[in-house]
């Protein structure tokens, strides 16, 4: 199990296109991955569902927590953290 926290610094938060890119990245890993909006103190949701990620209402400067559990959990959590920390690395 690997759990990380990261601040969302891109201009638009985690909606629409960024949410789709985030979920697409999560889907590359076998581990179960969950995410929550720590700033809004939301429940954990499935990081592989765009609809679920949209319920988090993540705006710029919100902090999210990522929890991965499975065979590639460390790589998964770090990849998602890196994706957000790099402002989606030109993917949006």
């Amino acid at each position: 199990m690997k759990q990380l926290r990261v601040k969302v610094t891109n201009a638009v938060g985690l909606h629409a296109r960024p949410a789709a890119v985030f979920v697409g990245e999560a889907g590359r890993f076998a581990s179960q991955i969950r995410v929550r909006n720590a700033t809004r103190n939301t429940p954990w949701v499935d990081a592989k569902s765009i609809l679920s990620v949209l319920t988090l209402g993540v705006e710029p400067q919100h902090e999210i927590e990522i929890m991965a559990d499975g065979p590639d959990d460390t790589r998964a959590a770090e990849a998602l953290q890196q994706l957000i920390a790099s402002d989606f690395a030109g993917k949006i």
Partner: protein, 199 residues
Amino acid sequence: MGGRCESGMVERDLHVDARADDAPWIREVTSTSASTEQARPRLSALLPIAAIRLRIPAMDWRAAVRASGEALVAAGITTPAYTDQMIATVEQLGPYIVIAPGIALAHARPSEAVLRPGLSWVTLAQPVRFGHKDNDPVTLIVGLAAPDSSSHVQGLATLAELLEDPTRRAALMAANTPRDVLGVITEYERRDVRNDGRG
């Protein structure tokens, strides 16, 4: 519907932004005591009744996205240029806008074609395919227009909550009139206000 929105807001001693004068249904509400999320327009305030269209015939995904753009234009949320931008987004980036089985979230980047934050709701007479590997065919197109980064985020979150709830989703999809769609939404928002433990 303006009256219905107001009744839920006045209880909190809120200040209504001057922009509400020319767009009474999308009051940008701020309050010294409210948290950031409470300051965002609610879903019902982002979705004017003129932007809800049910069982629209559409031959293909382009026609479906066009219908959702036309609903945005009809409600004064966007100019027609935004409709073309939404279609171009799918052409360039693929069918990722199909965010769940049967549901597309049509949108483009914030642009001058967006006059104010808002949503449209278009259901199709016959489902269409976008070419999404898991979530085709699509029956509901939600059109999303945002002039900036965050004004719509909480409204969109509420919409996602509604669509994740099988009972409410079924009620929304079975709605026969735009007023019925808004009724499901406002009923949920009232419940949300009563039970919200996040505040």
